[in-house]
C-alpha cells in the first residue's frame, strides 16, 4: 500500500458523499441552524497542510507495516495483545484527549477562566474509579470487547445484543460529534470546505482501521498523543517563560486584561470592571444548580468506565499488571494535559486577547471563533510554522479518536453480533475479520454522511450524551456482572436497556436538545437538568438489581452458579486470555 491509496479511497467516498449531500440538502435547509461550533472558512494554510501531509504519510507507512501483522481477528481487535503498559497508556490518552478537549477547554478557560478547569477535572476523575474497580478484572475476564466481560457467565445472545447496542449508541454519538468538529475545525485551520474535511477524515480513518486494525490505530493514537502533549507543553512553557515562570504574574496579567476589556464597555464602573477581571480566578456560572452539577459529574466519572473504545484498549496488553500500568500512565498524561490547557487558556487571555491581529475588531471576538484560542496562541508564541504544527496536530487528534471509535463499533458488530449471536461462537477468525472490515467501511461511510447531515446542527450535547449512555447502560451492567453474585441475564439486560433508553430520552427532553437543538422556547424543557446520569444511572442499577432478585428462571440458577469461577478468574487472572493468539 502506498500514498496513492487514500486518494482512490477519497475519490470513491467522494462520489457517495456527494450523492448523499444532494439527497440531504432539503433536510438541511429545513433544519434549525445552531450557532455552536460554526466556523468561518479561513484562507488556505499551506504550512499546516504540509505538516498534516507529513503526518498522514507517516501514519500510512505505519499502517502498511501494521497491515502485514494483522492476520487474525485477534490481531485486528487487540494487536495480538502485545502492546506494553506504557504504550497503551499513551494510546489511551490519545484516544481520550479529543480536539474538543484541547481547543474547547482552552477556549473555555480563555473566556471564563476557572470554570474551564472545573470542566476538565470532570473528565479526569473517572480514571481512578476505572483503575480501582474495573481495569484488571476486565483484562482477566475479557478477550476482545467489553461484552466478553459483561456476558462472561450469562446467556450470550441477550447480553451481547445489549452490549452491542450500548457500544453502537455511544460510538454513534461520539463519532458524529467528532466528525462535525473535524469539519468545522479543518474549515477553520486549513481553509478547506467542510465536506472535503469530513471526507478526508472518514477516508483516512477507514484506511487505518481497515488495513492496520488495532496495531495501526494504537500507533496513530500514540503518535498523536506525543505530538499533542509536546505541542501543548511548548505553548505552556512559552507562556510561563514570558512571566518568569511565576503563576501569580501570569494570573495578574490575565486579570488586568479582563479588567480592561470590562472597563471598555460603556457604563461600567471601575469597581465592576475589577470584579469582572478577578472573576476568572474563581467559579462562575458553569454550575447552575447542585443537581445538574452532581448529575453531570456522575456522567463524566462513571461514563469513562463505560466507554467501549476505551475499555477495548485493556485487551491489547498481555496481563493485568500491564493493564494497571496503562491506566496509571493514561491518568498521568491526561491530568498533565489538563494542567497545560489551563495555562494555555490563561496564555490566550494575555497573548491573544491583547493582539488586534487575532481579533475581529476592537473589543471583538477571536477571528474564526472562540475555539481558535489555542491556535492563535500557537501563532503568537511560535510563529507561522508552529501554527501549522498545532493545526496539523488538531487534525491528527480527530483522526486518532475516530479510528478508535470505528474499531470499537466494528468489533461490536463482528465479535458480539456476528460471531457470538449469529454464528453462536462458531465463526472462524477469517470470516470474523471479514465482517469487521465490512463493518468498518459501513461505519466510515455512515460517519461521513452523518457528519455532513449534522453540519448545521447544534451538537454540543452529543459527547455528554455519549458519556451519559456509557455511565447509565454499559457501566452498571459491567459493574454488576463482575461484582454482584446474584446478578442474572434477565436483570442485566432489562436494567441495561432501562439505563440506555432513559439516558437518551432524558437527554432529548433536557434544555441542550429540547431548546438548543429542537428550538423550543427557553425554559420549556420537560427535564430541567444538564445531564440525565443521576437519574438514568440509578434507574440502570435499580433495574439490574430488581429484575435479578425477581428472576427465578432456570437460567438465573446457571448465572448465579457461574459467579464463583468468574470471581476466581477475575481476581487472579488464572485462565485469562494469553498475550499472543488469545
Amino acid at each position: 500500500m502506498n500514498a496513492t491509496l487514500p486518494t482512490s479511497f477519497a475519490r470513491r467516498t467522494f462520489a457517495i458523499g456527494a450523492a448523499a449531500a444532494l439527497v440531504l440538502a432539503p433536510t438541511l435547509a429545513l433544519a434549525a441552524g445552531g450557532d455552536l461550533g460554526q466556523a468561518d472558512k479561513q484562507a488556505t494554510n499551506w504550512t499546516a497542510i504540509t505538516m498534516f501531509v507529513v503526518f498522514v504519510l507517516g501514519t500510512l507507512y505505519i499502517t502498511k507495516w501494521a497491515a502485514a501483522k494483522t492476520k487474525s481477528a485477534a490481531d485486528f481487535y487487540t494487536a495480538g495483545g502485545g502492546i506494553t503498559g506504557f504504550q497503551n497508556g499513551l494510546a489511551i490518552a490519545g484516544d481520550y484527549m479529543s480536539a474538543a478537549s484541547f481547543l474547547g477547554i482552552s477556549a473555555a478557560v480563555m473566556s471564563s477562566g476557572y470554570d474551564g478547569l472545573i470542566y476538565s477535572i470532570g473528565f479526569l476523575v473517572g480514571w481512578p474509579i476505572l483503575t480501582f474497580l474495573m481495569a484488571e478484572r476486565l483484562r482477566n475476564l475479557g478477550k476482545f470487547t467489553f461484552a466478553d466481560v459483561a456476558a462472561f457467565r450469562f446467556a450470550q445472545t441477550p447480553v451481547r445484543v445489549f452490549a452491542a447496542s450500548g457500544t453502537l449508541v455511544v460510538v454513534a454519538f461520539y463519532l458524529i460529534a467528532q466528525m462535525v468538529g473535524a469539519g468545522q475545525l479543518i474549515k477553520l485551520l486549513f481553509g478547506l470546505d467542510y465536506w472535503i474535511a469530513v471526507l478526508i477524515v472518514g477516508a483516512l480513518m477507514m484506511v487505518y482501521v481497515l488495513f492496520g486494525g488495532m496495531t495501526a490505530t494504537t500507533w496513530v493514537q500514540i503518535i498523536k498523543a506525543c505530538l499533542l502533549l509536546g505541542g501543548a507543553t511548548f505553548m505552556a512553557v512559552m507562556v510561563m517563560w514570558r512571566y518568569g515562570f511565576s503563576p501569580e504574574k501570569l494570573f495578574a496579567a490575565a486579570v488586568e486584561v479582563k479588567t480592561n476589556i470590562a472597563a471598555a464597555k460603556p457604563g461600567t464602573t471601575p469597581q465592576a470592571a475589577a470584579a469582572a477581571g478577578q472573576s476568572i480566578m474563581g467559579p462562575g456560572n458553569f454550575i447552575k444548580d447542585p443537581i445538574s452539577a452532581i448529575s453531570f459529574g456522575m456522567a463524566l466519572m462513571f461514563g469513562t468506565a463505560g466507554l467501549p473504545h476505551i475499555l477495548m484498549r485493556f485487551f491489547t496488553v498481555p496481563s493485568a499488571k500491564e493493564a494497571r500500568k496503562s491506566v496509571m500512565w493514561a491518568t498521568a498524561w491526561i491530568g498533565y494535559f489538563y494542567l497545560l490547557t489551563f495555562i494555555i487558556g490563561f496564555g490566550a487571555i494575555t497573548f491573544v486577547l491583547t493582539n488586534p491581529e487575532f481579533l475581529t475588531g476592537p473589543g471583538g471576538g477571536l477571528i474564526g471563533g472562540a475555539n481558535m484560542a489555542a491556535v492563535h496562541l500557537a501563532h503568537a508564541v511560535g510563529g507561522n510554522v508552529f501554527l501549522g504544527f498545532i493545526s496539523a496536530v488538531a487534525f491528527a487528534t480527530i483522526l486518532a479518536v475516530v479510528a478508535g471509535l470505528t474499531l470499537s463499533g466494528a468489533s461490536a458488530v463482528s465479535h458480539d453480533l456476528y460471531s457470538t449471536v449469529i454464528k453462536k461462537g462458531k465463526a472462524d477468525s477469517a470470516s470474523e475479520l471479514k465482517v469487521s472490515r465490512i463493518t468498518t467501511v459501513c461505519l466510515g461511510i455512515l460517519a461521513v454522511l452523518l457528519g455532513i447531515a449534522f453540519e448545521k446542527q447544534n451538537i454540543a450535547f452529543m459527547v455528554s450524551l455519549a458519556f451519559a449512555v456509557a455511565a447509565s447502560a454499559n457501566f452498571p451492567v459491567l459493574f454488576m456482572s463482575v461484582l454482584w453474585k446474584d446478578c442474572t441475564t434477565k436483570g442485566a439486560v432489562i436494567g441495561g436497556f432501562l439505563g440506555l433508553l432513559s439516558s437518551v430520552v432524558l437527554t432529548v427532553l433536557s434544555p441542550s436538545v429540547w431548546e438548543a437543538t429542537l428550538g423550543y422556547p427557553a425554559g420549556s424543557a420537560p427535564f430541567p437538568y444538564t445531564s440525565p446520569a443521576l437519574f438514568s444511572m440509578t434507574l440502570g442499577f435499580v433495574g439490574i438489581w430488581l429484575f435479578s432478585i425477581l428472576d427465578n428462571s432456570q437460567r438465573a440458577k446457571i448465572d448465579r452458579a457461574g459467579f464463583p469461577a468468574q470471581e476466581v478468574r477475575s481476581e487472579t487472572g488464572i485462565g485469562a486470555a494469553e498475550a499472543s493468539g488469545h
Binding site: Y114, L117, I118, I121, L124, V125, W127, P128, I129, T131, F132, L133, E136, P247, E248, F251, A252, V255, Q278, S279, M281, G282, P283, F286, I287, D289, P290, A293, I294, G297, M301, A320, K321, R324, K325, V327, M328, T331, A332, G335, Y336, Y338, L339, F342, P564, A565, E567, V568, R569, E571, T572, G573, I574, G575
Partner: protein
C-alpha cells in the same frame, strides 16, 4: 477452568487474603476519590466565595491550588493503587497460581 479448580482456589487462604485486601483497598480509595471530587463540586455549588477568596495581596485565589490539587490527587491516588497492586497483590496472585497448578 472447571468448578472444582475454582473451588480449590477459593478455599486457598492466600486467595481469601488477596480478595479481602484488594477489595478493602480498592473501595477505600474509590471512596476517597468520590469524597474529594464531590466535595469539590459541592464547594462550587454552595460556597463559591471560598474558592474565589484571595490567598494574599495578589490575584491568586484558593480555588487555583485546590483545583490543581484535585488533578494531582487523582494522578497520585491512581499511582498508589497501581504500585501496591503490581507489587503485593501480584505476588499473592502468583502464589495462588502456583498452588493451583500443583
Amino acid at each position: 477452568m472447571d468448578n472444582s479448580v475454582a473451588a480449590r482456589i477459593a478455599a486457598d487462604p492466600n486467595y481469601q487474603a488477596l480478595k479481602s485486601r484488594r477489595s478493602r483497598f480498592g473501595w477505600s480509595l474509590t471512596l476517597a476519590m468520590l469524597v474529594v471530587y464531590y466535595g469539590f463540586i459541592l464547594l462550587i455549588a454552595f460556597r463559591k466565595d471560598l474558592l474565589a477568596a484571595r490567598m494574599g495581596d495578589g490575584v491568586m485565589t484558593w480555588g487555583i491550588p485546590i483545583g490543581f490539587g484535585v488533578i494531582v490527587f487523582t494522578i497520585l491516588i491512581t499511582a498508589i493503587y497501581v504500585r501496591r497492586a503490581n507489587g503485593e497483590f501480584d505476588a499473592l496472585s502468583e502464589k495462588i497460581k502456583q498452588e493451583a497448578l500443583k
